[in-house]
Amino acid sequence: MTALDFSTTIGNAWFPAPTFTASGCASSGRELAQFFPLREMGGVVTKSVMSKMRPGRPTPRMAETPSGMLNSIGLQGPGIDAFLAKDVPYLVEQKARIIVSIAGETVEEYSTLARKLRSVSGISAIEVNISCPNVENRGLVFACDPEASRRVIDGVRRTIGGELPIIAKLSPDVTDLVSIAKGVVDAGADGLALINTVLGMVINVDTMRPHLGGKTGGLSGPAIRPIAVRAVYQVHAALPQIPILGMGGIASGKDALEMILAGASGVSIGTASFGNPTAIMSIQNELKQLLTDRGFTSLKQAVGFAHRPNEGE
């Protein structure tokens, strides 16, 4: 039996495994390092960082829902300077592969962040989060507007040059995801992260008001997995050469395989880590076994395998 080639690539970045944290679901990696060595997974996608320190939204920030949860964090974070001073060196020291996720309120803020990252060593790729639902102004969700999405990615690409791969993180809360995906790829994205959380709300029937401090929140967990699988499948069909980081409710190796068959070159694990800090390690091991059981000798063979023509056609 030949060994399985479990590696994956996004742009010019190579990862020994296709398993990543989902941004905003691992802080900056330190906490998970208590449970397993960070270098054993494909990479850490850090919590989306902005130019300045940001306190985030008021509590309550969380509501558990059937097979999922709503979160309303609002991009709480230390700001790019503190992040680069403390968090990146730690991850480098752990020999983790790093995808830095950035978020901005304006097209210019994204470019400013990209400029600060340009010369930082040890970063494998940049995720450009243009789809966080937990912002005060829905107009700030660039990923809901094809033109705004394109401008952000174009600005980051121009600033960063041709070196670092750019992954655009998109929202499923749009009518035509494929056209937005095509737009950001045209503007210079090397890969896509699909999907961010789905905008939702819970109303507390005792107080009879929205439960979350921010009123609306992002729905994650297995409840949204079929939406994510559909999004990955549709975008892969339209853009088969573009690597996709698939995410949305992956909690087992089987779920990860489903996403890969739909067209993802890698998977991010978020909510499952909240329920189980070693979820990423279990998913990785299960996925390896499932690929081997099905006769694949490399992960790449399985990417988009669900799109193959029916036998005899």
Binding site: C25, P55, T59, M62, E64, S67, M69, F274, G275, N276
Partner: protein, 278 residues
């Protein structure tokens, strides 16, 4: 910003016993060597509902006490009120059921270096971790007095053996069904003066912790409180359980109650800003 509890481990741990005590369940879990690393104030995060559960998040419970020398090895005791779906599931699990848990998590109560008089204040089942704390403080020579309060008598958790380590225990209920009618915060100022209390330790609902902070600040007494904020992960990665806390430079940050808490310096928590936009 502090780090995740360095002793935290994920383990599969069997339930040794599960007994109903009034409105609560006393659940003893065999956690082996991990028991030796648990300190009063720490908590445990437990996976609930089994593999096919629609509950995807861990549940956090205060560790009420640990024992390192039982016949089955190290154990932890939890006092659980079957309120929500997760706690109801846990309370329904019997002896031998294996739980997936992470412990110990969070900060612990600080123990005074000198044997000083201390006051322990518990609200409802929040009082559970105070009994293990009382034993530790008592063993260090501190005079320990305890106040327990709840809306009604059936919500008071006060095990008989809990009285061994305390000098006095007074109970307050809002409806007067047990102990004195009134709030647990009513006698605190007087007790501080009478006994020259140096440290107040508290566990319970947030309005109670806020009220104790006001009194403690007035008398310049240290107030260590264990906060309860809803958590998705318990290990510091979800950022949902934050509380506004004053930093040394006077600025205010949203700190995670799972990592920088649950035990916090009450005077630094900005109680009036909880649930407000910073």
């Amino acid at each position: 910003m502090t780090q995740i509890n360095k002793s935290a481990k994920q383990l599969l741990a069997p339930i040794v016993s599960n007994k109903r005590v009034g409105q609560y369940h006393q659940i003893i879990i065999n956690i082996g060597d991990v028991a030796a690393t648990c300190k009063p104030g720490n908590f445990v995060a437990i996976s609930v509902g089994g593999d096919s559960s629609r509950m995807v998040l861990r549940r956090a419970f205060a560790i009420s006490r640990v024992s390192t020398s039982t016949t089955v090895g190290g154990t932890m005791e939890l006092i659980v009120a079957p309120h929500g779906q997760g706690s109801k599931w846990l309370c329904a699990q019997g002896e031998g059921v294996v739980l997936d848990l992470v412990a110990p998590l969070g900060t612990a109560f600080g123990i005074p270096t000198e044997p000083v008089p201390v006051l322990l204040v518990g609200g409802g089942y929040g009082s559970a971790p105070l009994f293990g704390l009382a034993e530790l403080l008592n063993s260090r020579g501190c005079r320990v007095d305890m106040l327990l309060g709840a809306s009604t008598g059936s919500k008071i958790y006060a095990p008989m053996e809990g009285k061994r380590a305390v000098n006095s225990m007074r109970i307050y209920t809002e409806d007067g069904s047990m102990g004195v009618a009134g709030r647990v915060t009513d006698p605190i100022a007087e007790i501080i003066k009478d006994l020259n209390v140096a440290v107040i330790y508290s566990c319970g609902p947030m309005p109670m912790l806020a009220a104790i902070t006001t009194i403690a600040d007035q008398f310049d007494v240290v107030h260590q409180c264990a906060v309860e904020e809803s958590m998705a992960c318990g290990v510091g990665i979800c950022m949902t359980c934050v509380l506004p806390v004053e930093n040394e430079d006077g600025s205010i940050s949203n700190l995670r109650s799972c990592i920088d808490g649950p035990v916090m310096d009450g005077s630094m928590v900005q109680w009036s800003k909880v649930g407000q936009q910073l």
